[in-house]
């Protein structure tokens, strides 16, 4: 395995980590108006992700940084072609960050309601655009022979990519509801569990449909065999169905592990469907960017591999320690004893 191939899969792992960790943050944000009955309860819900959400976003920053370092041609074409979509994501993430900080800065009902709604819009909008953007890597965008994006923003939207965006929103909403059942006490826990039960079937149906369509798109537009992308797609659908079953029987811990696996396997399916390309060109398949033609020079790949080998375990351990220290449930009555 060459270093370029290694980095392609490492970037997939980074995206997987982002979907697993930030997925439940987005899900909690989506459900603020559903599970929380008043602003105090919504504050408690935000407390459940308060210590983690910014650390979880680091996975996205590292994924983008790794793409820049390992595949500059991919980075340049993707950030240029998806410019308006990424700009929308940036605005949504900025609004979301500000809503975390400013919502608590004033007691007024209108102020808090405004920022709660802004948070929810951002928590729905950002995953939707991520779903659309990642699906476009496989679905293909028009590229010139020099790798420049030659389409416009409307080329990013099709039946498949829109379904992918909606499916990611449904997956994260379910993931967030299950996360809340692990972190909440009392009435908030009960309402989160009821919400998880309600979301389970739509999430499974939408994700299964999008994953099956991804396999079809990979075969049709990326000259992939069925088996490669079908394996993670089938496992992803299976674990999400298991999560739905366990969420309906109140086994929240197991359900959360399965929704996390489903989020990781969503990314796994996209990257498996994509390989050995990094961005499919359609029309003009011969203009597609590949792992080989988009990678950095060998020396650059060696340097970033050494840096990643030293620092990634440190960051992962630190983040795991944070989760361990702050694992207690929040809200409701303290359990006796």
């Amino acid at each position: 395995m060459t270093l370029a191939i290694l980095w392609f899969w490492l970037i997939a792992v980074l995206w997987g980590g982002y979907f697993v960790l930030e997925g439940f943050d987005f899900g909690v944000g989506m459900l603020l108006g559903v599970v929380g009955r008043d602003e105090e309860e919504r504050s408690t819900m935000l407390e459940s992700i308060g210590p983690f959400w910014d650390g979880n976003e680091v996975w996205l920053v590292v994924a983008a940084g790794a793409t820049f370092a390992a595949f500059p041609a991919w980075y340049a074409t993707m950030f240029s072609g998806f410019y308006l979509a990424l700009l929308a994501i940036l605005v949504l993430l900025i609004v979301r960050v500000v809503s975390f900080e400013w919502r608590e800065r004033h007691e007024g009902h209108r102020w808090r309601t405004t920022w709660r709604r802004a948070h929810t819009v951002a928590a729905v909008g950002a995953p939707f655009v991520w779903g659309v953007a990642l699906a476009n890597l496989v679905h293909g965008v028009p590229l010139s022979s020099s790798g420049d994006f030659t389409g416009d923003v409307l080329d990013l939207f099709s039946g498949y990519t829109l379904l992918a965006g909606v499916a990611v929103v449904a997956l994260f909403a379910f993931h967030g509801a299950v996360f809340l059942t692990l972190r909440m006490r009392g009435a908030l826990h009960d309402r989160a569990a009821a919400t998880a039960r309600r979301l389970s079937v739509p999430a499974v149906v939408l994700v299964a449909a999008a994953l099956v369509w991804t396999v079809g798109v990979a075969v049709e537009r990326n000259q992939r065999g069925v088996l490669g992308p079908a394996v993670p797609a089938a496992i992803g659908t299976g674990v999400l169905a298991l999560a739905a079953g366990w969420a309906r029987t109140g086994r929240s811990g197991r359900a959360f592990v399965m929704t996390a696996l489903a989020a990781a396997l969503w990314v796994g399916t996209i990257f498996t469907a994509l390989y050995p390309r990094v961005l499919v060109s359609h029309p003009g398949f011969e203009n597609s960017l590949t792992v080989a033609n988009a990678a950095s020079a060998h020396y650059a790949l060696v340097v970033i591999t050494v840096v990643a080998a030293v620092f990634t375990p440190i960051v992962a351990l630190y983040q795991a320690w944070t989760y361990r220290v702050l694992r207690a449930r929040v809200g409701g009555e303290q359990p006796a004893g």
Partner: protein, 61 residues
């Protein structure tokens, strides 16, 4: 990059000047709005008196 890649060669060829200007305008508007709200919030907090700290009552012997 000095002498190799000029700023004029940098913009994406697929977006018009109007699209780029609009996106920069959106960012400028967003940051100006956030800056104004932040300033108002900071001024409000700066004008609030600090909380009264009570001395601990000495335990009676």
């Amino acid at each position: 990059v000095l002498g190799l890649f000029n700023t004029a060669e940098g913009p994406s060829p697929c977006y018009s000047s109007a699209a780029l200007a609009t996106s920069i305008g959106v960012f400028a508007l967003l940051y100006i709005t956030l800056g104004v709200v932040d300033f108002v919030l900071m001024r409000r907090y700066a004008r609030v008196d600090p909380p009264v700290v009570r001395e601990p009552v000495a335990a009676s012997v």
